[in-house]
């Protein structure tokens, strides 16, 4: 029975391994969201901004669990971190500050430009802000370099949308694992 449930979760998308009250639950991102399980590092506002930003960059990122992915990595020991940011000249000890700083700056940008949070922007408004960030033209941006933050969030979103077995399948690339990863991340 347990094996069937695991198999269902695997084939239905992404599996999250979440520790709750000393037990480990295997949940899909949607299930984790529906269950209202708390994030370990990111605040509700940060999650809201992150999901909207990542979804605008890489459609499907919210459902694929981008916020859960980043939150889980930030909560892990630095040496166990799987974020691509480790390749980009930022030390794992500074990761949380990097994401917090970028999300705060992005939230401020949306507020200053359109007087609303990212989650309430329409598609064209989000596109304008993303273009400004990519070109480092975001007015009054106060965070890590905007174009760099744009690149990192896009990469994280690509990791969860395209970097798993389900993600490979989405674009018809056979995964062909020698050893399947113990979980998506």
């Amino acid at each position: 029975m347990e094996r069937d449930r695991r198999q269902f979760l695997k084939t239905s998308g992404i599996v999250l391994s979440i520790a709750v009250a000393g037990d480990v639950l295997l949940l899909s991102p949607a299930s984790a969201h529906a269950a209202g399980l708390p994030y370990q590092v990111l605040s509700a506002d940060e999650v809201s901004t992150l999901e909207a930003l990542a979804e605008a960059l890489v459609p499907g990122a919210r459902e694929a669990g981008v916020a859960q992915y980043i939150d889980k990595q930030l909560a892990a020991a630095p040496r166990d971190n799987l974020l691509m940011l480790k390749y980009l000249g930022v030390s794992p000890g500074d990761f949380t500050g990097f994401y917090r700083g970028g999300l705060s700056a992005a939230g401020q940008l949306a507020k200053l430009r359109f007087d609303r949070p990212w989650s309430s922007l329409d598609t064209s408004q989000a596109s304008i802000l993303l273009a400004d960030m990519a070109a480092d033209q975001a007015k009054d941006w106060n965070g890590p370099p905007a174009s760099f933050f744009h690149f990192v969030i896009r990469s994280d979103a690509c990791d969860v949308v395209y970097g798993t077995e389900a993600g490979f399948g989405r674009i018809d690339i056979p995964y062909m694992a020698h050893i399947e990863p113990p979980r998506a991340w």
């Binding site: 605008a56 960059l57 890489v58 459609p59 499907g60 630095p78 040496r79 166990d80 971190n81 799987l82 974020l83 691509m84 480790k86 390749y87 000249g89 030390s91 794992p92 000890g93 596109s127 993303l130 990519a134 744009h150 690149f151 896009r154 990469s155 690509c158 990791d159 395209y162 970097g163 798993t164 993600g167 490979f168 674009i171 018809d172 690339i173 056979p174 995964y175 062909m176 694992a177 020698h178 050893i179 399947e180 990863p181 113990p182 998506a184 991340w185």
Partner: protein, 523 residues
């Protein structure tokens, strides 16, 4: 004066103590253990097993450097986290197994071209070690197709097959009159000495759990352990110790995972912890006798830091390319621009590594080749790329510059060792080399039928120098065998001893040099 010499015969005394269990350390450990020497490998990272090597670009990030942070500055940063490894096998555990030899003209660049530094040995000195390593490990390739190849034994295995991506891009080279050959790969095209043949699924950089790729877990590290060497993981060496004369290393200090400090006595000490950490450890081992750092009276430890300048060329082709198939390292190679290093305003050799297996995500994945595509346009691009993507990478020669260096910063790691800082800049001749190659690469892709080829940013591939070898103790840190000029039994192994980068992937040369070092230190 500090004299850390301890009584001989204590429990923690070894004939040979090796810092680092990557390619170089494993070769020396295997030779020492086979010779009956009590041999200890101290590895800062965790233990690794083949069963740990999950096929995932995300999980593969665990294999990359996760030790003390390394500061990076300059117009071409060395990319330490991406290039270095973490755990048993070091960076060779995630390396791509592209194993060309250095060329004869790489060894006398100062004499021949007035640039850089001469090696204290020549190709003919190293050739027997290349030949012995390739016979022991097993290489796949086509020696005759490599018209540029220096003298050497034929490869023991036929080349790996060329898939659609390689065939498509190869047409572009042919159209411009340039030669290509199958890449010499330390990947089995057929079963070899009990190891399986490759399945061509493109997961090499996540670590090859079937043993088709010659990572240390299935070659020299395994053979070292079989021969009786001991491997201690999570053992971070903090200092190399010496006697009162300063001519003899007596052992090392290291910290275990709990932070407990240990001392090990050694008849011979070998530093094989990769270029940056070797230099860092020597500098951090300063003493009354060596106030600038161990073996550093000439202030050259840390200098001549190098990395290969590299650029990817990308394109989308009308044909289906099956870009996910084949080795991560690539399918074809071209050294047509290797043999003449003088190129007008540009200087240096370069190679093309063609048709590397591509995954959708990660730093080198298809999505990140076009960071300007996002939103609703991304998925159509990814779907097209999944079928029609092609890529190749330019690997250029770097010049050894004294001002490119590794130093110690004020901040310290959890064990009290100062962190390394690095600065690496390329100058005009190298910059011009890169620009020449970029133009050529795009021309090749256009000739191959790519509609609008594009290139990625310049990045640092591989790391060299910091403890360079040379004939003159005034201008180098070690002799031609990696022995420090100032200490009779302290050796350095790995790419840190290279006095020049050449323009080929270094792992084969690291093995060959390490075998040569092992034979010298074992007498």
């Amino acid at each position: 004066m500090v004299d850390y010499a301890q009584k001989a015969g204590s429990e923690d005394s070894f004939d040979v103590v090796i810092v680092g269990s990557g390619a170089a350390g494993s070769v020396i450990a295997a030779q020492a253990a086979r010779a009956g020497k009590r041999t200890l490998l101290l590895e800062a990272g965790p233990a690794r097993q083949l069963s740990d090597l999950a096929s995932s670009q995300l999980w593969a990030r665990k294999l990359k450097w996760a030790g003390a942070p390394v500061g990076e500055e300059g117009n071409l940063r060395i990319g330490h986290v991406f290039n270095a490894g973490w755990g048993s096998g070091g960076s060779a555990l995630h390396h791509y197994a592209v194993w060309p030899r250095l060329h004869e003209n790489d060894f006398k660049v100062k004499s021949q071209y007035g640039r850089g530094m001469d090696w204290p040995l020549e190709y003919r000195d190293l050739r027997p070690y290349y030949d012995r390593i390739q016979a022991e490990v097993g290489l796949s390739g086509d020696a005759r197709a490599e018209k540029w190849r220096p003298p050497g034994d034929d490869y023991p295995m036929a080349p790996l097959p060329v898939f659609a991506q390689g065939r498509v891009i190869g047409k572009g080279f042919a159209a411009l009159g340039m030669a290509t050959a199958p890449i010499p790969l330390a990947v089995n095209s057929t079963p070899y000495k009990g190891r399986k043949a490759c399945l061509y699924d493109g997961w090499c950089d996540a670590g090859c759990p079937i043993g088709a790729l010659a990572n240390p877990l299935v070659t020299y590290l395994a053979w070292a352990l079989e021969a009786g060497a001991e491997l201690r993981n999570n053992a971070t060496v903090t200092r190399v110790l010496h006697d009162s004369s300063g001519r003899k290393a007596t052992g090392v200090e290291y910290c275990d995972a709990a932070g407990n400090r240990h001392r090990v006595n050694a008849g011979t000490v070998v530093l094989a912890a990769f270029a940056v950490q070797n230099a860092r450890l020597l500098l951090a081992s300063a003493s009354d006798r060596y106030p600038r750092g161990l073996a550093n009276s000439n202030d050259l430890v840390g200098r001549f830091l190098m990395t290969h300048p590299a650029h990817y060329i990308y394109g989308l082709f009308a044909e289906e390319t099956q870009p996910h198939l084949g080795p991560t390292g690539g399918q074809l190679i071209s050294h047509d621009r290797y043999l003449d290093k003088a190129k007008g305003q540009a200087y240096g050799s370069y190679q093309w590594i063609i048709a590397t297996a591509a995954k959708p995500n990660d730093l080198l994945g298809m999505a990140n080749t076009r960071p300007d595509i996002y939103g609703p346009a991304l998925d159509p691009f990814m779907r097209r790329a999944a079928k029609h993507f092609g890529n190749m990478v330019f690997v250029g020669e770097d010049l050894p510059l004294e001002e490119n260096r590794i130093t110690l910063g004020a901040a310290k790691d959890e064990y009290g060792v100062p962190l390394a800082k690095t600065v690496h800049n390329v100058t005009a001749p190298t910059d011009a080399l890169c620009e020449q190659a970029l133009a050529e690469g795009k021309a090749v892709f256009k000739a191959a039928g790519a509609d609008e080829p594009w290139n990625g940013p310049r990045f640092g591939m591989h790391i060299f120098g910091g403890t360079v070898m040379g004939a003159d103790p005034k201008t180098s840190v070690t002799d031609a065998f990696g022995r420090c000029h100032e200490l009779d039994n302290l050796y350095v192994a790995g790419p840190g001893v290279f006095p020049g980068s050449g323009a080929v992937n270094p792992t084969f040369t690291i093995h060959a040099l390490a075998l040569r070092t092992a034979e010298r230190l074992l007498g």
